[in-house]
Every structure is written in structure tokens, then in C-alpha cells.
């Protein structure tokens, strides 16, 4: 049996009396893109933070590339990367300096070569020597994507990667990520509020609400299950407690099922 790239079991996080994530389980195989959907406060960012090892879970286990991330995260951190709206790249450094810094941080010896490849792939040449803080949102996003790919990660965790981008740039980023994933067989987990993005690039969807995974499946399975024509309507059904017609009382909870089981 092929080991999943991301394997989460009974993961919970409590802040004092508030349970932000409630015993969720899921796994993601190499080459698979999975979306984490849910309203604000659903637990998406908390889940991603735990996967990144910067938030300690209250209970449960996380294995990334076969390693226990809670105990041994430094054994795999060089094979993982992320992008989040909660962090910036140092604004006063030029794009080239930022990429050099992150290349060194991730132990890339042939950094200049890697930066050239990223410049080529993400079309960064025109602003490579400009301070990162002076770039437009679209340009900054391309640099953030370059940073997230600097170590050719086998696992990519993306928190709202196309938030606040114009449709053209957002489309460009999605295409690029899809292309990278198919070339490198990376496992990608992305939290997003953009349903069309999810329909376009994700193989599977985890629907979160109030810290639980309330449903999961491929985009087409979810559309079929809720008899809807797009994921936004499915999202609204779940957010407003309009259960899918084929979920009956007595069905097992979906949050502990493997994606492949559905």
C-alpha cells in the first residue's frame, strides 16, 4: 500500500474551553490536490497551522511523508513549503535577495540556478531586482509562489493562495500550481473561499464546519450528492445546515473516512 503524503488521524485543537478543530481525520496521496473548504472560523487555518508544525494539537496524530510532524518535524520540513496571507516576504529585500535567502534556508546549494529556473517559470525577471514591498499584488503573489516552490516541495500547503487577486492573475496562479503538481506529483492542500478555483484544480474536497469535517468527496460527487450545479451552492447548503438528500440519520460520520472510501 502506498503511504499517503499527508496522514491525519483524530486531530483536535482546543484553546481553553473552545474546541477549534474536533477530531478530524483525512489522508492525501502524492499527486493529489485537496481543498479545505469552510466559512470563517471553520478551522481551516488552524488545521493548516497544525500540519505545518507551528501549532501543537491537543490530540491526534499528523504524519507528513511518513514522519510524525509533532515529534520530528525537522526531519521533513525541507520537503514541505507553504504560502499564507498571515506572513509576508521581507519587504525591503529585493525579489532576488528574498529568493536567495529562502534557498539558503531550505539548504539549496545551487541557489542561483534554482532562482533562474523560478524566474523563468514564474516570469519574475522584469522585477527581480526591485524591493518586494514595491510590487503589485499580482507580482507579490508570483514571488510568494516562487518562495513556496523554492525547495521543490513534495507537500504544498496553501492558505487562500489567490485571495485579493484579479481574475487574470488568479487564473494564472491556478494554472501554474496545477502544472507544478502534475510535473512533481506533489500533494497539495489548499484552504480557499473560491469555489470555482476548487472545482478547477482540486481532486477532492474536505468540507469543514465548526471544527469538524462535515462532508468530503470529489467536486462532482459533492455536486451530485447535493443535487447542485456548482460548489458554491453546496457550500451554502452546508453552511446553512441544509443536509444533502442522501445523508440519512444513522449514517456513519464522514469525518473519519478515507477520501478513497467515498
Amino acid at each position: 500500500m502506498i503511504q499517503p503524503s499527508i496522514d491525519v488521524k483524530n486531530l483536535s485543537k482546543a484553546y481553553d474551553d473552545v474546541l477549534a478543530v474536533k477530531s478530524i481525520s483525512f489522508s492525501i496521496k502524492a499527486g493529489e490536490t485537496v481543498a479545505l473548504l469552510g466559512g470563517n472560523g471553520a478551522g481551516k487555518t488552524t488545521t493548516i497551522s497544525m500540519l505545518l508544525g507551528i501549532l501543537l494539537p491537543t490530540a491526534g496524530s499528523i504524519r507528513l511523508l511518513g514522519e510524525d510532524i509533532i515529534e520530528n518535524r525537522f526531519r521533513v520540513m525541507h520537503r514541505i513549503n507553504f504560502s499564507s496571507p498571515y506572513v509576508d516576504l521581507p519587504r525591503r529585500l529585493t525579489v532576488r535577495q528574498n529568493l536567495m535567502f529562502f534557498c539558503r534556508l531550505y539548504g539549496i546549494v545551487n541557489a542561483k540556478e534554482r532562482i533562474m529556473v523560478l524566474c523563468e517559470e514564474l516570469d519574475l525577471y522584469e522585477f527581480i531586482d526591485r524591493p518586494t514591498g514595491s510590487l503589485s499584488s499580482g507580482q507579490k503573489t508570483r514571488v510568494s509562489v516562487a518562495k513556496a516552490l523554492v525547495n521543490e516541495p513534495e507537500i504544498l500547503l496553501l492558505d487562500e493562495p489567490t485571495a485579493s487577486l484579479d481574475p487574470d492573475t488568479a487564473d494564472w496562479v491556478r494554472s501554474y500550481l496545477k502544472d507544478y503538481q502534475s510535473r512533481k506529483q506533489a500533494a497539495i492542500l489548499l484552504a480557499s473561499h473560491n469555489m470555482s478555483e476548487v472545482e478547477r484544480i482540486c481532486d477532492n474536497v474536505l468540507m469543514m464546519k465548526l471544527g469538524r469535517i462535515v462532508d468530503q468527496g470529489t467536486p462532482s460527487e459533492l455536486l451530485h450528492r447535493y443535487s447542485r450545479t456548482n460548489l458554491e451552492e453546496v457550500f451554502l447548503d452546508i453552511a446553512r445546515d441544509r443536509a444533502s438528500p442522501d445523508i440519512q440519520d444513522g449514517d456513519p460520520p464522514r469525518d473519519n473516512l478515507e477520501l478513497g472510501d467515498l
Binding site: 516576504l89 519587504r91 525591503r92 539558503r104 494554472s175 502544472d179
Partner: protein, 288 residues
Amino acid sequence: MTRTPFEASQTSTENISDHTLVRSSSSLMRIYAVLLRHLYLMKASWPRILEMMYWPSIQMVLWGFITQFLMTNSSYIAQATGVLISAVLLWDILFRGQLGFSLSFLEELWSRNLGNLAVSPLRPVEFLISLMMMSLIRTIIGIVPATFLAILFYKVSIYDLGLPLVLFFSNLLIMGWSIGLLVCALILRVGLGAESMAWLTIFLIAPISAIYYPVEILPDWLQTLAWCLPTAPVFEGMRAILFGEGFQLNLYLHSLGLNLLYFAIGMCIFLWSYHVARKRGLLLQIGE
């Protein structure tokens, strides 16, 4: 944008065929990465470098004039003309060392880069080592020009202290790091609201560090407190050399012992604070 991603990916596929990442798992490379990031920042901003040199030089010039005045009015100063200037320069090693450590840490918070570091292969201890290296670099940039100005303006050379200067310097720098560790631990716990502590904390120990006057001037109970700090033995040791009593090994060992203790405590408190930040999810969100 000049090309579609599909055009870009076609080009990249050609590149990728002959591009293989060469990786290293060396701690030194990660420490170097953080140093590089701060050196880039300094290189891009000459006012930052000027600011590092400004205060130590101004302080030294001010105390130089005070020394010149006191030389004609005080037998104490007349015995050792460099005592006040040497004291101010050594005090600045401690201050710049602490500030260099804390500001390098704050720089990561101001630029919202701490999350990037926390999610990278950089281990907390490696991060702390890089902050110490930056503190050393910033201290040298700040202090060395002031020492040459002291020679130029007042004919006082701190280098006349000889080899003990290296011991004083290292002791004061380590003390600065210990205080920096506590300041950074506090900022990790309560956020950027506590950033002013980076500038203020050091002055809490200034009155009992015996910088410009001997410990015996202090009231008895404060003398006890002063001898619990690594700073008082350093400044007493400096005065012993300048007043011709030679290097006092007992004072050095006293200072070193306390320093190692406080440094270990500082490390433990920072690492505990980092652990709490991981538990509470503060590393991505730390701010005001």
C-alpha cells in the same frame, strides 16, 4: 504579464530536464541564510548603519568632554584619564549587544517573516545563534568607530586594556544576549506591545552595574544585588587595570560564572516561550 503559464511551463520543462536541486542539511547554511537576510537589509539602508554608529560615538564624545573637565577638578579621574571613556565604551558593548539581538528578532516580526522562519527547516536554536551573530556584527559596527574617535579626540585607547578587553567584550556581549533572550521571550508571549522593552530593560541594571563608580559607593543591600550581576565585576575589573592593579582573575571568573548561569536561564525561558507560542498558535499571528 508577458506570457501565459502554459508558455512558461513549456520553457520550464526544458529547464527542469537539466536542473536538479543540490541540497544540504547543514545547520551552518541555515544560520548563514538568516545572517544573509539581515546583511541584505543593512546593505540596502545606510541610515541603519549610521544609526548603529551614532549613539556610541555621541556618548563617547560627551563623556570625553566630561573627563577633560573632571581631570582638572578630580584626583580620581586624574589618576586614570581613560576610566570614564572606557566605561562608556564597555557599557555600549552591553547595550548594543542586547539591542542588536532584540532588534534582529523584532525585524522578523515587523516584516511578518517569523512564520516563514518557523515553518522552515531552521531550528529555534539555529535562529538564536544567527541572532547572536547579528548582535556581534551590529556591536562591532557600532563600537569600533567610537573607539577610534576616542583615540583621535582624547588620546584614550580602550585597546590599551590589552587581552582582558577581549574577555570583557565577550562577557558583556553574552550578558547582552541573555537580556535579549528574555526580551524576545516576553515579546513572544505578549506581542509587539512589549517591543519598547528592547530599549528599556538594560537601563534597569545600569545603576547597579557600577559603570562609572565603584560598587562600594552603593548602599550595602544594593552592593549585594550588584555582585549578582555579571556587569559589576567587569567594570570593577576594568578599573583595576586602569588604576594599575592588573587583571583580576577572580572578578573575571565571578562574571563568567554568572553569565553562563543567566545565559542558560535566558535560553530556557526563550525556548519555553517559543513552545507556548506554538501551543497557542502565535507564531503566524504575533503582532501588536
